[in-house]
Amino acid sequence: MIIKDVLCPFCGCLCDDLAVEVENNKVVDVKHACKIGASKIMGHDRIKAPMMRDDKNGEFREVSYDEAINESAKILANSKRPLLYGWASGLCEMMAKGILLNEEVGGIIDNTASVCHGPSVLGVHEKGLPTGTLGQFANRADLVVFWGCNPVQAHPRHMSRYSVFNKGFFASKGRRSRKVVVFDVRKTDTAEMADEYVQVNPGEDYIVMSALRAIIADKADVVPDSVGGVPKEKLVELGEAMKGAKYGMVYFGMGLTQSRGKYKNIDNAVSLITELNAHGKHSILPMRGHYNVTGFGQVCAWETGFANAVDMSRGIPYYNPGETCSNDLLMREEIDSAMIIAGDAGAHFPAQSIARMSKVPVIQVDPFHNPTTEMANIVIPTKVSGVELEGTAYRMDSVSLRMRKLVDVDFPSDEEVLDKIIAKVREIKGASS
Protein backbone atom coordinates (compact mmCIF):
# COMPACT_ATOMS: atom_id res chain seq x y z
CA MET A 1 0.00 0.00 0.00
CA ILE A 2 1.28 3.47 -0.88
CA ILE A 3 0.30 6.28 1.49
CA LYS A 4 0.42 9.63 -0.28
CA ASP A 5 0.87 13.19 1.03
CA VAL A 6 2.74 12.00 4.08
CA LEU A 7 4.42 14.66 6.25
CA CYS A 8 8.01 14.20 7.25
CA PRO A 9 8.61 14.21 11.01
CA PHE A 10 12.24 15.23 10.92
CA CYS A 11 13.05 18.87 10.25
CA GLY A 12 11.23 22.18 10.40
CA CYS A 13 10.52 22.08 6.63
CA LEU A 14 7.77 19.56 7.42
CA CYS A 15 7.66 18.43 3.76
CA ASP A 16 4.12 17.27 3.06
CA ASP A 17 4.48 15.51 -0.29
CA LEU A 18 6.03 12.17 0.69
CA ALA A 19 4.82 8.82 -0.60
CA VAL A 20 5.44 5.97 1.81
CA GLU A 21 5.07 2.32 0.88
CA VAL A 22 3.82 0.12 3.70
CA GLU A 23 3.72 -3.67 3.48
CA ASN A 24 2.44 -5.86 6.33
CA ASN A 25 2.46 -2.90 8.70
CA LYS A 26 6.14 -2.15 7.90
CA VAL A 27 7.53 0.85 6.04
CA VAL A 28 9.41 -0.56 3.04
CA ASP A 29 10.05 2.55 0.93
CA VAL A 30 9.94 6.32 1.26
CA LYS A 31 9.71 8.50 -1.84
CA HIS A 32 10.30 12.26 -2.29
CA ALA A 33 11.92 12.69 1.14
CA CYS A 34 15.55 13.75 1.50
CA LYS A 35 18.08 11.27 2.83
CA ILE A 36 17.48 12.34 6.44
CA GLY A 37 13.69 12.20 6.23
CA ALA A 38 13.78 8.79 4.54
CA SER A 39 16.18 7.48 7.17
CA LYS A 40 13.86 8.68 9.95
CA ILE A 41 10.72 7.15 8.45
CA MET A 42 12.41 3.85 7.53
CA GLY A 43 13.25 3.63 11.24
CA HIS A 44 16.08 2.38 13.42
CA ASP A 45 16.70 -0.11 16.20
CA ARG A 46 14.58 0.86 19.14
CA ILE A 47 14.31 0.26 22.86
CA LYS A 48 12.16 -2.84 23.26
CA ALA A 49 10.81 -2.46 26.79
CA PRO A 50 10.88 -0.13 29.80
CA MET A 51 14.07 -0.43 31.86
CA MET A 52 15.34 0.71 35.24
CA ARG A 53 18.56 0.75 37.23
CA ASP A 54 19.65 2.43 40.49
CA ASP A 55 23.32 2.83 39.62
CA LYS A 56 23.97 4.69 36.36
CA ASN A 57 27.06 2.56 35.82
CA GLY A 58 25.08 -0.64 36.35
CA GLU A 59 23.04 -2.75 33.95
CA PHE A 60 19.41 -1.95 33.19
CA ARG A 61 16.75 -4.50 34.09
CA GLU A 62 13.52 -4.77 32.12
CA VAL A 63 10.42 -3.68 34.03
CA SER A 64 6.73 -3.22 33.27
CA TYR A 65 5.33 0.09 32.03
CA ASP A 66 3.42 0.43 35.29
CA GLU A 67 6.54 0.04 37.39
CA ALA A 68 8.56 2.52 35.29
CA ILE A 69 5.70 5.02 35.27
CA ASN A 70 5.03 4.77 39.01
CA GLU A 71 8.70 5.10 39.84
CA SER A 72 9.00 8.12 37.52
CA ALA A 73 6.00 9.76 39.17
CA LYS A 74 7.54 9.14 42.60
CA ILE A 75 10.81 10.79 41.57
CA LEU A 76 9.10 13.81 40.05
CA ALA A 77 6.55 14.24 42.86
CA ASN A 78 9.27 14.12 45.50
CA SER A 79 11.68 16.48 43.73
CA LYS A 80 12.03 20.11 44.70
CA ARG A 81 13.37 21.27 41.33
CA PRO A 82 12.69 18.78 38.54
CA LEU A 83 13.64 19.71 34.98
CA LEU A 84 11.36 18.50 32.17
CA TYR A 85 13.36 18.85 28.97
CA GLY A 86 13.06 17.90 25.29
CA TRP A 87 9.62 17.88 23.63
CA ALA A 88 10.64 18.90 20.08
CA SER A 89 10.26 15.44 18.50
CA GLY A 90 6.80 15.08 19.97
CA LEU A 91 3.36 16.29 18.87
CA CYS A 92 1.53 19.31 20.27
CA GLU A 93 -0.92 17.06 22.10
CA MET A 94 1.83 15.56 24.27
CA MET A 95 3.42 18.96 24.82
CA ALA A 96 0.21 20.23 26.43
CA LYS A 97 0.35 17.21 28.79
CA GLY A 98 3.98 17.96 29.60
CA ILE A 99 3.13 21.52 30.55
CA LEU A 100 0.38 20.20 32.80
CA LEU A 101 2.78 17.74 34.44
CA ASN A 102 5.23 20.57 35.02
CA GLU A 103 2.50 22.52 36.75
CA GLU A 104 1.68 19.53 38.97
CA VAL A 105 5.28 19.01 40.08
CA GLY A 106 6.28 22.70 40.21
CA GLY A 107 9.21 22.08 37.91
CA ILE A 108 10.89 23.81 35.01
CA ILE A 109 9.89 22.91 31.47
CA ASP A 110 12.35 23.67 28.70
CA ASN A 111 12.63 22.52 25.11
CA THR A 112 15.41 21.92 22.63
CA ALA A 113 15.20 25.55 21.47
CA SER A 114 17.33 26.12 24.57
CA VAL A 115 20.32 24.90 22.52
CA CYS A 116 19.00 25.97 19.10
CA HIS A 117 16.77 28.99 18.52
CA GLY A 118 16.20 30.06 22.15
CA PRO A 119 18.17 33.26 21.44
CA SER A 120 15.86 33.90 18.46
CA VAL A 121 12.93 34.00 20.88
CA LEU A 122 14.83 36.63 22.89
CA GLY A 123 15.62 38.59 19.73
CA VAL A 124 11.92 38.54 18.89
CA HIS A 125 11.05 39.85 22.37
CA GLU A 126 13.34 42.80 21.65
CA LYS A 127 12.38 43.65 18.11
CA GLY A 128 9.44 41.57 16.88
CA LEU A 129 9.57 39.39 13.78
CA PRO A 130 8.67 40.73 10.33
CA THR A 131 7.85 37.38 8.78
CA GLY A 132 5.37 35.39 6.73
CA THR A 133 4.85 31.85 5.51
CA LEU A 134 7.07 29.67 3.36
CA GLY A 135 4.35 29.76 0.70
CA GLN A 136 4.69 33.55 0.42
CA PHE A 137 8.46 33.38 0.33
CA ALA A 138 8.41 30.61 -2.27
CA ASN A 139 6.22 32.66 -4.58
CA ARG A 140 7.66 36.12 -4.05
CA ALA A 141 11.30 36.30 -2.97
CA ASP A 142 13.78 37.55 -5.58
CA LEU A 143 16.66 37.92 -3.11
CA VAL A 144 17.37 35.08 -0.69
CA VAL A 145 19.96 35.41 2.05
CA PHE A 146 21.09 32.45 4.18
CA TRP A 147 22.91 33.81 7.20
CA GLY A 148 24.70 31.34 9.46
CA CYS A 149 22.65 28.41 8.19
CA ASN A 150 23.41 25.54 5.85
CA PRO A 151 20.18 24.08 4.46
CA VAL A 152 22.01 21.68 2.12
CA GLN A 153 23.07 19.78 5.25
CA ALA A 154 20.40 20.67 7.82
CA HIS A 155 17.17 21.20 5.82
CA PRO A 156 17.96 19.41 2.56
CA ARG A 157 14.71 20.12 0.66
CA HIS A 158 14.31 23.72 1.82
CA MET A 159 16.05 25.13 -1.26
CA SER A 160 14.05 23.04 -3.73
CA ARG A 161 10.63 23.47 -2.11
CA TYR A 162 10.60 26.93 -0.62
CA SER A 163 13.54 29.16 -1.26
CA VAL A 164 15.88 28.72 -4.24
CA PHE A 165 15.11 26.23 -7.01
CA ASN A 166 11.31 26.15 -6.91
CA LYS A 167 9.24 28.14 -9.38
CA GLY A 168 6.90 30.70 -7.85
CA PHE A 169 4.11 33.04 -8.93
CA PHE A 170 6.54 35.96 -9.12
CA ALA A 171 9.54 33.71 -9.65
CA SER A 172 8.60 31.87 -12.81
CA LYS A 173 12.17 31.01 -13.73
CA GLY A 174 12.90 29.25 -10.45
CA ARG A 175 16.58 29.49 -9.56
CA ARG A 176 17.16 32.16 -12.23
CA SER A 177 14.49 34.40 -10.69
CA ARG A 178 16.50 34.80 -7.52
CA LYS A 179 19.80 36.10 -6.29
CA VAL A 180 21.14 33.92 -3.48
CA VAL A 181 23.64 35.23 -0.93
CA VAL A 182 25.26 33.22 1.87
CA PHE A 183 26.94 34.77 4.91
CA ASP A 184 28.96 32.20 6.83
CA VAL A 185 32.28 31.68 8.58
CA ARG A 186 33.16 28.85 6.19
CA LYS A 187 32.33 27.99 2.61
CA THR A 188 29.53 25.48 3.18
CA ASP A 189 27.76 23.40 0.53
CA THR A 190 25.00 26.02 0.58
CA ALA A 191 27.61 28.73 -0.09
CA GLU A 192 28.87 26.69 -3.06
CA MET A 193 25.42 26.98 -4.65
CA ALA A 194 24.99 30.71 -4.00
CA ASP A 195 25.58 33.65 -6.32
CA GLU A 196 27.56 35.36 -3.59
CA TYR A 197 29.43 33.92 -0.65
CA VAL A 198 30.39 36.42 2.03
CA GLN A 199 32.95 35.08 4.46
CA VAL A 200 32.50 36.61 7.91
CA ASN A 201 35.06 36.28 10.70
CA PRO A 202 33.79 33.97 13.48
CA GLY A 203 31.75 35.96 16.02
CA GLU A 204 31.62 39.13 13.89
CA ASP A 205 28.20 38.78 12.22
CA TYR A 206 26.77 41.53 14.42
CA ILE A 207 29.10 44.23 13.13
CA VAL A 208 28.63 43.10 9.53
CA MET A 209 24.86 43.59 9.97
CA SER A 210 25.45 46.98 11.58
CA ALA A 211 27.59 48.02 8.59
CA LEU A 212 24.86 46.90 6.18
CA ARG A 213 22.29 48.86 8.16
CA ALA A 214 24.43 51.98 7.93
CA ILE A 215 24.87 51.53 4.17
CA ILE A 216 21.15 50.97 3.62
CA ALA A 217 20.42 54.12 5.64
CA ASP A 218 22.75 56.08 3.30
CA LYS A 219 25.44 56.40 5.97
CA ALA A 220 28.15 54.44 4.13
CA ASP A 221 30.67 57.15 5.05
CA VAL A 222 30.80 55.86 8.65
CA VAL A 223 31.70 52.31 7.57
CA PRO A 224 35.43 51.43 7.81
CA ASP A 225 37.33 49.78 4.93
CA SER A 226 36.71 46.29 6.22
CA VAL A 227 34.11 44.99 8.68
CA GLY A 228 34.17 41.50 10.18
CA GLY A 229 36.52 40.37 7.43
CA VAL A 230 34.27 41.75 4.62
CA PRO A 231 35.64 44.59 2.42
CA LYS A 232 33.53 47.78 2.41
CA GLU A 233 33.02 47.69 -1.38
CA LYS A 234 31.45 44.24 -1.05
CA LEU A 235 29.15 45.47 1.71
CA VAL A 236 28.10 48.50 -0.34
CA GLU A 237 27.36 46.25 -3.31
CA LEU A 238 25.30 43.91 -1.12
CA GLY A 239 23.49 46.78 0.57
CA GLU A 240 22.46 48.12 -2.85
CA ALA A 241 21.34 44.67 -3.98
CA MET A 242 19.21 44.30 -0.84
CA LYS A 243 17.69 47.74 -1.29
CA GLY A 244 16.89 46.96 -4.91
CA ALA A 245 15.11 43.69 -4.17
CA LYS A 246 11.35 43.51 -4.63
CA TYR A 247 11.00 40.84 -1.96
CA GLY A 248 14.04 40.08 0.14
CA MET A 249 14.18 37.08 2.42
CA VAL A 250 16.67 36.35 5.20
CA TYR A 251 16.84 32.82 6.62
CA PHE A 252 19.12 32.38 9.61
CA GLY A 253 20.40 29.55 11.74
CA MET A 254 22.67 28.60 14.58
CA GLY A 255 25.56 30.48 13.00
CA LEU A 256 23.86 33.49 14.57
CA THR A 257 22.17 32.06 17.66
CA GLN A 258 25.17 30.11 18.94
CA SER A 259 28.04 32.46 18.15
CA ARG A 260 29.17 35.61 19.94
CA GLY A 261 26.31 38.05 20.36
CA LYS A 262 23.72 35.23 20.39
CA TYR A 263 20.29 36.89 20.76
CA LYS A 264 21.77 40.30 19.95
CA ASN A 265 22.61 38.94 16.49
CA ILE A 266 18.93 38.20 15.96
CA ASP A 267 17.95 41.58 17.33
CA ASN A 268 20.30 43.21 14.79
CA ALA A 269 19.12 40.99 11.93
CA VAL A 270 15.51 42.03 12.61
CA SER A 271 16.62 45.68 12.66
CA LEU A 272 18.28 45.13 9.29
CA ILE A 273 14.95 43.90 7.91
CA THR A 274 13.15 46.91 9.39
CA GLU A 275 15.69 49.17 7.70
CA LEU A 276 15.17 47.36 4.39
CA ASN A 277 11.40 47.60 4.64
CA ALA A 278 11.71 51.35 3.99
CA HIS A 279 12.69 50.32 0.44
CA GLY A 280 11.06 47.04 -0.62
CA LYS A 281 9.32 44.18 1.13
CA HIS A 282 11.57 42.03 3.31
CA SER A 283 11.01 39.18 5.77
CA ILE A 284 13.06 36.99 8.05
CA LEU A 285 12.65 33.43 9.32
CA PRO A 286 14.63 31.21 11.70
CA MET A 287 15.50 27.81 10.20
CA ARG A 288 13.97 25.68 12.95
CA GLY A 289 15.56 22.27 13.44
CA HIS A 290 13.27 19.58 14.91
CA TYR A 291 10.05 19.17 12.98
CA ASN A 292 7.89 20.36 15.89
CA VAL A 293 10.19 22.56 17.94
CA THR A 294 8.08 25.48 16.71
CA GLY A 295 5.01 23.69 18.06
CA PHE A 296 6.41 23.62 21.57
CA GLY A 297 6.87 27.39 21.49
CA GLN A 298 3.25 27.76 20.40
CA VAL A 299 1.74 25.37 22.94
CA CYS A 300 3.87 26.66 25.80
CA ALA A 301 3.03 30.27 24.93
CA TRP A 302 -0.71 29.65 24.87
CA GLU A 303 -0.61 27.57 28.06
CA THR A 304 1.83 29.65 30.15
CA GLY A 305 2.42 32.94 28.35
CA PHE A 306 6.04 32.04 27.55
CA ALA A 307 7.63 30.04 24.76
CA ASN A 308 10.20 28.02 26.75
CA ALA A 309 12.19 27.76 30.00
CA VAL A 310 9.10 28.12 32.20
CA ASP A 311 9.60 27.70 35.95
CA MET A 312 6.43 26.71 37.83
CA SER A 313 8.01 26.41 41.28
CA ARG A 314 6.12 29.48 42.49
CA GLY A 315 2.80 28.11 41.24
CA ILE A 316 2.71 30.76 38.51
CA PRO A 317 4.75 30.76 35.30
CA TYR A 318 8.12 32.47 35.66
CA TYR A 319 10.48 32.86 32.72
CA ASN A 320 13.99 34.20 32.70
CA PRO A 321 16.29 32.56 30.16
CA GLY A 322 19.82 32.62 31.50
CA GLU A 323 18.31 31.55 34.81
CA THR A 324 15.58 29.08 33.85
CA CYS A 325 17.15 27.48 30.76
CA SER A 326 18.38 23.91 31.17
CA ASN A 327 22.10 24.55 30.94
CA ASP A 328 21.98 27.39 33.45
CA LEU A 329 20.05 25.19 35.90
CA LEU A 330 22.44 22.29 35.41
CA MET A 331 25.59 24.38 35.74
CA ARG A 332 24.23 25.92 38.96
CA GLU A 333 23.53 22.37 40.19
CA GLU A 334 20.02 23.42 41.01
CA ILE A 335 17.95 20.56 39.67
CA ASP A 336 17.34 17.39 41.68
CA SER A 337 15.79 15.23 38.93
CA ALA A 338 15.28 15.37 35.19
CA MET A 339 12.80 13.96 32.72
CA ILE A 340 14.20 13.97 29.19
CA ILE A 341 11.44 13.36 26.67
CA ALA A 342 11.39 13.63 22.84
CA GLY A 343 14.81 15.26 22.82
CA ASP A 344 18.34 14.12 23.60
CA ALA A 345 20.06 16.27 26.19
CA GLY A 346 22.83 13.68 26.51
CA ALA A 347 23.94 14.22 22.92
CA HIS A 348 23.32 17.93 22.64
CA PHE A 349 24.28 19.58 25.91
CA PRO A 350 27.87 20.54 26.78
CA ALA A 351 29.71 17.73 28.57
CA GLN A 352 29.95 19.73 31.79
CA SER A 353 26.17 20.14 31.94
CA ILE A 354 25.70 16.41 31.37
CA ALA A 355 28.22 15.61 34.11
CA ARG A 356 25.95 17.53 36.46
CA MET A 357 22.85 15.81 35.12
CA SER A 358 24.49 12.48 35.87
CA LYS A 359 24.31 13.27 39.60
CA VAL A 360 20.49 13.31 39.73
CA PRO A 361 17.85 10.71 38.87
CA VAL A 362 17.10 10.86 35.13
CA ILE A 363 13.91 9.56 33.48
CA GLN A 364 14.05 9.15 29.71
CA VAL A 365 10.93 8.86 27.53
CA ASP A 366 12.05 8.11 23.97
CA PRO A 367 11.82 5.37 21.34
CA PHE A 368 15.59 5.21 20.88
CA HIS A 369 18.74 4.39 22.81
CA ASN A 370 20.93 7.50 22.77
CA PRO A 371 23.46 9.30 25.01
CA THR A 372 20.64 10.29 27.39
CA THR A 373 19.98 6.57 27.92
CA GLU A 374 23.57 6.24 29.14
CA MET A 375 22.73 8.77 31.88
CA ALA A 376 19.23 7.46 32.69
CA ASN A 377 17.83 5.52 35.64
CA ILE A 378 14.44 4.91 34.06
CA VAL A 379 13.80 4.46 30.34
CA ILE A 380 10.27 4.41 28.91
CA PRO A 381 10.01 3.64 25.18
CA THR A 382 7.14 5.23 23.25
CA LYS A 383 5.73 5.55 19.74
CA VAL A 384 7.56 7.45 17.01
CA SER A 385 5.36 10.49 16.45
CA GLY A 386 4.48 11.20 12.83
CA VAL A 387 5.19 7.60 11.85
CA GLU A 388 3.30 5.56 14.42
CA LEU A 389 1.06 8.33 15.76
CA GLU A 390 -0.92 11.19 14.24
CA GLY A 391 -1.28 14.65 15.66
CA THR A 392 -0.41 18.32 15.29
CA ALA A 393 2.96 19.87 14.45
CA TYR A 394 4.05 23.40 13.49
CA ARG A 395 6.29 24.01 10.50
CA MET A 396 9.20 26.45 10.91
CA ASP A 397 6.97 29.30 9.72
CA SER A 398 4.39 28.49 12.44
CA VAL A 399 1.87 26.90 10.08
CA SER A 400 0.17 24.01 11.89
CA LEU A 401 -0.16 20.73 10.01
CA ARG A 402 -1.58 17.32 10.83
CA MET A 403 1.04 14.57 10.98
CA ARG A 404 -0.06 11.15 9.81
CA LYS A 405 0.14 7.66 11.21
CA LEU A 406 1.70 5.13 8.81
CA VAL A 407 1.97 1.94 10.84
CA ASP A 408 0.54 0.48 14.06
CA VAL A 409 2.72 -0.53 16.98
CA ASP A 410 2.12 -1.71 20.53
CA PHE A 411 4.17 0.96 22.25
CA PRO A 412 2.23 3.61 24.20
CA SER A 413 2.30 7.22 23.00
CA ASP A 414 4.14 9.95 24.93
CA GLU A 415 0.74 11.37 25.77
CA GLU A 416 -0.47 8.12 27.33
CA VAL A 417 2.69 7.84 29.43
CA LEU A 418 2.37 11.47 30.55
CA ASP A 419 -1.31 10.99 31.43
CA LYS A 420 -0.41 8.07 33.68
CA ILE A 421 2.47 9.93 35.32
CA ILE A 422 0.19 12.93 35.97
CA ALA A 423 -2.45 10.69 37.58
CA LYS A 424 0.14 9.03 39.80
CA VAL A 425 1.77 12.36 40.76
CA ARG A 426 -1.66 13.66 41.80
CA GLU A 427 -2.22 10.55 43.89
CA ILE A 428 1.16 10.93 45.64
CA LYS A 429 0.79 14.68 46.16
CA GLY A 430 -2.83 14.26 47.28
CA ALA A 431 -1.85 11.67 49.87
CA SER A 432 0.91 13.84 51.31
CA SER A 433 -1.09 17.10 51.55
Binding site: I36, Q153, V185, K187, A191, G255, Q258, G322, I354, H369
Partner: protein, 125 residues
Protein backbone atom coordinates in the same frame (compact mmCIF):
# COMPACT_ATOMS: atom_id res chain seq x y z
CA UNK B 1 53.35 21.02 15.95
CA UNK B 2 50.02 22.34 17.27
CA UNK B 3 47.33 24.33 15.53
CA UNK B 4 45.71 27.27 17.30
CA UNK B 5 42.19 27.26 15.98
CA UNK B 6 38.65 28.53 16.34
CA UNK B 7 36.21 25.69 16.96
CA UNK B 8 32.61 25.48 15.70
CA UNK B 9 30.03 22.69 15.64
CA UNK B 10 26.99 22.29 13.39
CA UNK B 11 24.59 19.97 11.61
CA UNK B 12 25.35 17.63 8.71
CA UNK B 13 23.16 15.31 6.63
CA UNK B 14 24.79 12.15 7.98
CA UNK B 15 24.58 13.32 11.57
CA UNK B 16 20.88 13.94 10.90
CA UNK B 17 20.36 10.51 9.31
CA UNK B 18 21.73 8.86 12.44
CA UNK B 19 20.04 11.05 15.02
CA UNK B 20 17.86 8.11 16.07
CA UNK B 21 20.68 5.62 15.58
CA UNK B 22 23.24 6.90 18.04
CA UNK B 23 24.57 3.56 19.24
CA UNK B 24 25.71 2.64 15.70
CA UNK B 25 29.05 2.81 13.94
CA UNK B 26 27.28 5.01 11.36
CA UNK B 27 26.64 7.66 14.03
CA UNK B 28 30.26 7.51 15.16
CA UNK B 29 31.36 7.98 11.54
CA UNK B 30 28.89 10.85 11.12
CA UNK B 31 29.67 12.81 14.27
CA UNK B 32 33.17 11.89 15.46
CA UNK B 33 35.55 13.76 13.18
CA UNK B 34 37.23 17.13 13.05
CA UNK B 35 37.30 19.05 9.77
CA UNK B 36 40.01 21.51 8.79
CA UNK B 37 41.46 22.69 5.52
CA UNK B 38 44.33 20.89 3.75
CA UNK B 39 46.81 23.58 4.68
CA UNK B 40 46.10 23.25 8.42
CA UNK B 41 46.15 19.45 8.12
CA UNK B 42 49.56 19.46 6.47
CA UNK B 43 50.90 21.95 9.03
CA UNK B 44 49.88 19.37 11.66
CA UNK B 45 51.32 16.57 9.56
CA UNK B 46 48.07 14.56 9.69
CA UNK B 47 46.27 12.63 6.95
CA UNK B 48 42.48 12.14 6.78
CA UNK B 49 41.57 9.42 9.28
CA UNK B 50 44.55 10.13 11.57
CA UNK B 51 43.43 11.05 15.06
CA UNK B 52 43.75 14.56 16.42
CA UNK B 53 43.16 15.86 19.91
CA UNK B 54 41.08 19.02 20.21
CA UNK B 55 41.50 20.88 23.49
CA UNK B 56 39.67 23.96 24.77
CA UNK B 57 39.30 25.55 28.20
CA UNK B 58 36.30 23.27 28.68
CA UNK B 59 37.66 19.86 27.82
CA UNK B 60 39.36 17.76 25.19
CA UNK B 61 38.38 15.04 22.75
CA UNK B 62 40.15 12.71 20.32
CA UNK B 63 38.56 12.23 16.88
CA UNK B 64 39.76 11.40 13.36
CA UNK B 65 40.69 14.33 11.11
CA UNK B 66 38.85 15.06 7.87
CA UNK B 67 39.52 17.65 5.19
CA UNK B 68 37.11 20.46 4.30
CA UNK B 69 38.66 23.07 2.09
CA UNK B 70 35.70 25.37 2.63
CA UNK B 71 37.12 26.12 6.07
CA UNK B 72 39.31 29.20 6.29
CA UNK B 73 42.72 28.76 7.93
CA UNK B 74 42.44 28.01 11.62
CA UNK B 75 38.74 27.09 11.62
CA UNK B 76 37.92 23.57 12.80
CA UNK B 77 34.50 21.91 12.80
CA UNK B 78 33.08 18.87 14.59
CA UNK B 79 29.45 17.91 13.79
CA UNK B 80 27.03 18.58 16.63
CA UNK B 81 26.90 15.67 19.06
CA UNK B 82 28.71 14.27 22.09
CA UNK B 83 32.22 14.56 20.59
CA UNK B 84 31.82 18.26 19.81
CA UNK B 85 30.15 18.77 23.18
CA UNK B 86 33.21 17.47 25.01
CA UNK B 87 34.93 20.79 24.21
CA UNK B 88 32.15 23.41 24.06
CA UNK B 89 31.55 26.18 26.59
CA UNK B 90 28.67 25.47 29.00
CA UNK B 91 28.46 29.13 30.06
CA UNK B 92 25.35 30.71 28.54
CA UNK B 93 26.47 34.26 29.35
CA UNK B 94 23.05 34.83 30.85
CA UNK B 95 20.92 34.02 27.81
CA UNK B 96 20.34 30.25 28.11
CA UNK B 97 22.45 29.24 25.11
CA UNK B 98 25.84 27.59 25.73
CA UNK B 99 28.79 28.52 23.51
CA UNK B 100 28.76 25.93 20.71
CA UNK B 101 30.64 28.08 18.21
CA UNK B 102 33.67 30.36 18.14
CA UNK B 103 35.71 28.69 20.89
CA UNK B 104 39.51 28.97 21.02
CA UNK B 105 41.00 25.51 20.61
CA UNK B 106 44.35 23.81 20.20
CA UNK B 107 44.54 20.86 17.82
CA UNK B 108 47.42 18.36 17.90
CA UNK B 109 48.18 15.00 16.31
CA UNK B 110 47.75 12.08 18.69
CA UNK B 111 48.06 8.29 18.90
CA UNK B 112 45.22 8.13 21.41
CA UNK B 113 42.03 6.33 20.38
CA UNK B 114 38.76 8.17 19.70
CA UNK B 115 36.17 7.27 22.35
CA UNK B 116 32.92 5.53 21.41
CA UNK B 117 29.66 7.19 22.43
CA UNK B 118 29.23 5.05 25.60
CA UNK B 119 32.91 5.60 26.53
CA UNK B 120 32.46 9.33 26.15
CA UNK B 121 29.32 9.34 28.31
CA UNK B 122 30.91 7.06 30.92
CA UNK B 123 33.53 9.75 31.53
CA UNK B 124 30.80 12.11 32.65
CA UNK B 125 29.25 9.81 35.25
Amino acid sequence: MNLNATFISGRTVNQGCNLENKTSQAYFDAAAYCEMNSKDASSLGVEPGNNVKVTTDHGSVVVPMAICDGNPDGLVFIPMGPWANAVVDPDTKGCGMPGFKGISAVVEPTDEKAPTMPELMARLK
